[in-house]
């Protein structure tokens, strides 16, 4: 843990034009977070990491089916972007965002049954392909959602949820609501046509659509420079005349700050933003790709890309703020480790037990009965 790792790769607005949404004063939204908030965010980082680490291990033991798209090293984007939302806000996570489903509105209480996020049990039931999944295991992994919890259900088709997200906040606005929607997309996905169509539409109508671009430098086996012609993906915002913000995706508070600027902008009726979060994909594209990824990315690149662990960076902030002692910071050392190098002792016990209860819920849930394959093609009642 050296302080130099706090330095973000870059910051500011990626759009050519100066963003009107940039904070004007020097007080950042994160300055207003309480010590409890900050410690909660650290704990959520642990939870997101533990969830991923645990799944990696379960997958290696052959207990899970389907592909695992690890969110390791990208957790600060999820925690930082979700922390400031209202429960009634919408989100649309994609393949690499599994923890988002239960981190949404987690602030409202980890065991609060009324919070507007999925339970970790539901998410585990989905991963374990059980009927306790919100989608009854009819589609895989991240393709779950919930109308009541305000989570859009994605398909596999990248960027395909952005127009849906625009539609859902359009409906909310028509109903007099003030919800915003956060859509998550990899940098590679921003090349899709529907990304353009949806953001253009949202910009014309100033809809509260915030596109979080998780720029982890790779889209499967293709580096960002073959996906995007500009240095920053946030530059895409300039084409729509909307703010294009860049956050240090390793720093949960910087993500929080940039997203809250976009959220305020959107809630005030000023329209969409793009928030690019600079990060780095820790492993292969999916777990099936781990071996090949080790060949198409140099060891040095991977090491430097992963040198700024979001848990470590969060701790530095908390120590600097005086919310955590150095000794406390060293109590659980999940950071800077490969998933398989970690043990449960590297995580706070309540994090481990929360996830374990989620798995218990999943395992207690039976697989869906075969006949369900033919059900729900249509809604039959009127």
């Amino acid at each position: 843990m050296e302080t130099k790792t706090l330095t973000p790769p870059k910051s500011g607005s990626g759009s050519g034009r100066k963003s009107k949404a940039e904070p004007q004063s020097t007080t950042k939204p994160s300055d207003l977070l309480t010590p409890e908030d900050c410690l909660e965010m650290l704990k959520q980082l642990y939870l997101a990491r533990y969830f991923d680490v645990r799944l990696i291990k379960e997958k290696r033991r052959g207990r899970l089916t389907g592909t695992l798209y690890s969110s390791h090293n990208q957790e600060a984007i999820l925690v930082g972007s979700l922390y400031g939302l209202n429960g009634t806000d919408w989100i649309s996570p994609i393949h690499r965002d599994m923890p988002a489903f239960f981190i949404k509105d987690l602030r409202a209480g980890w065991d609060n049954p009324d919070r507007l996020g999925m339970s970790i049990g539901e998410v585990c039931a989905q991963v374990w392909c059980r009927s306790g999944s919100p989608g009854r295991a009819r589609d895989n992994w991240s393709h779950i959602g919930s109308k009541s919890k305000r989570i859009v259900h994605s398909t596999s088709m990248l960027a395909g949820t952005i127009p849906v997200a625009a539609g859902v906040v359009l409906a909310d606005r028509l109903n007099g609501g003030d919800a915003v929607v956060l859509t998550y997309n990899g940098e590679g996905s921003t090349a899709q046509g529907v990304f353009h169509e949806a953001i253009n539409f949202a910009a014309v109508h100033k809809l509260p659509v915030i596109t979080i671009v998780e720029n982890n430098m790779w889209a499967y086996g293709t580096p960002v420079e073959l996906e995007c012609p500009t240095e920053d993906v946030a530059t895409r915002a300039a084409g729509y005349g909307i703010p294009g913000l860049i956050a240090d995706g390793q720093d949960v508070f910087d993500v929080y700050d940039k997203v809250m600027v976009a959220v305020e902008h959107a809630r005030a009726g000023k329209g969409p933003s793009i928030v690019e979060c600079k990060t780095f994909r820790a492993y292969g594209h999916g777990d099936h790709d781990d071996d090949r990824a080790a060949r198409y990315r140099t060891k040095e690149d991977v090491e430097s890309g992963r040198s700024r662990d979001p848990i470590a960076i969060c701790k530095i902030h908390l120590v600097n703020k005086g919310y955590l002692t150095k000794a406390e910071a060293k109590k659980y050392m999940a950071e800077n480790k490969h998933a398989t190098q970690t043990s449960d002792e590297d995580f706070p016990p309540d994090v481990v037990s929360y996830m374990s209860k989620g798995i218990e819920f999943a395992l207690a849930s039976p697989p869906p009965p075969a006949e369900e394959g033919a059900m729900w093609v249509f809604r039959e009642e009127n």
């Binding site: 088709m157 539609g167 109903n175 529907v194």
Partner: protein
């Protein structure tokens, strides 16, 4: 709107029937919105939505950018948010530009969510050939959507059905692809008096347009009129042909088809879409499954050739089924 001026003596054409269906549903359902290119200020390329924006406001009748994928995707989101959505494709041919959002997002939403979320979305647009519209203003591409489970597919051929099916579609919780036959929009021959009171035509019920005993002609949309014309000619030759108008393809009214074939023992499907993997072939397969034992001749299909719809009129006629083709094939089948 002429149609509402004097409902007792004024006949309503196909286009005004659609217009009044959408208007009435907008009136009775405050959660319904309309999305499409040029549907507001202009009132639609053909005028189906004329007057709606003035009546219901720009937030309920939205002029969309030229973005079919966004139109469909935004419709999905609005439906997820509790709205009923009418989404217009300016021509049904352009639906290909929103194809992924239809087959992978819209069609599957209810299935994927194990019934949690229904997509109350009607995607409608002008369709069909025989009008010199060439490759991109003539398509009947319903088979793509019949092959994509989760979508209802509807093709009315009369003003009464256009109105009744549109209302049924807008009240159905499932996504509907609604083909409007643009050659029929303003055809005064088929204009008819419509009930003043609210009515629907339920999805999944075929109509027998003409009764007969010698052969069952099955079609929908514009081809229904070709079948009726052929039936008249065949009658002159002493043959009684039954004409079924399917009206909705998904769900399909198999019972009416079966009943008819039990009586006639012969079937000919007429369809302007390309032959291979079109709905005509599907019908032939179903007739086999349903009624093989009742058949005295192979169930046949007359379709467009496997070509696009060309522009020059002689070419267009050449590739599309014509009344005379129906007559001669029907004759052959009856004499089989």
């Amino acid at each position: 709107m002429a149609a509402t001026l004097d409902p007792v003596t004024t006949k309503t054409n196909y286009l005004n029937a659609l217009k009044s269906a959408i208007d009435e549903e907008m009136g009775r359902n405050p959660d319904m919105i309309c999305l499409g290119e040029d549907i507001g200020i202009l009132g639609g390329a053909f005028g189906v939505t004329e007057g709606l924006q003035a009546k219901y406001g720009t937030h309920r009748v939205m002029d969309m950018p030229i973005s079919e994928a966004a139109i469909v995707g935004v419709s999905c989101g609005a439906a997820l948010g509790g709205k009923t959505v009418m989404a217009e494709m300016q021509f049904i041919d352009f639906i290909s530009c929103g194809f992924d959002q239809i087959v992978n997002m819209l069609a599957t939403y209810h299935y994927r969510t194990a019934g949690e979320v229904a997509m109350n979305v009607v995607i409608r647009g002008p369709a069909g050939a025989y009008g010199g519209g060439a490759l991109y203003h003539s398509q009947m591409n319903e088979a793509w959507f019949c092959q994509s489970p989760g979508l209802r597919v509807v093709v009315p051929s009369t003003p009464y059905d256009a109105k009744g099916l549109m209302k049924a579609a807008l009240r159905d919780p499932n996504p509907v692809i609604f083909y409007e036959i643009k050659q029929l929009y303003r055809l005064s021959d088929i204009a008819e008096e419509l009930p003043e009171e609210d009515y629907i035509v339920p999805l999944g019920q075929a109509a027998i347009r003409r009764a007969g005993t010698d052969l069952t002609l099955i079609s929908y949309g514009q081809n229904v009129y070709h079948c009726l014309d052929a039936a008249k000619k065949l009658e002159d030759e002493g043959m009684q042909v039954e004409v079924i108008d399917l009206r909705s393809l998904v769900p399909l009214d198999e019972a009416t088809i079966l009943e008819s074939i039990k009586k006639t023992n012969r079937a000919l499907v007429v369809n302007e879409a390309p032959r291979t993997c079109g709905f005509a072939g599907e019908l032939v397969a179903r007739i086999n499954e349903l009624a093989f034992e009742h058949l005295d001749a192979p169930p046949l299909r007359l379709t467009r050739m496997d070509t696009p719809v060309p522009w020059a009129k002689a070419l267009e006629n050449f590739v599309l089924p014509q009344v005379d083709d129906i007559v001669s094939t029907a004759r052959r089948l009856i004499r089989y």
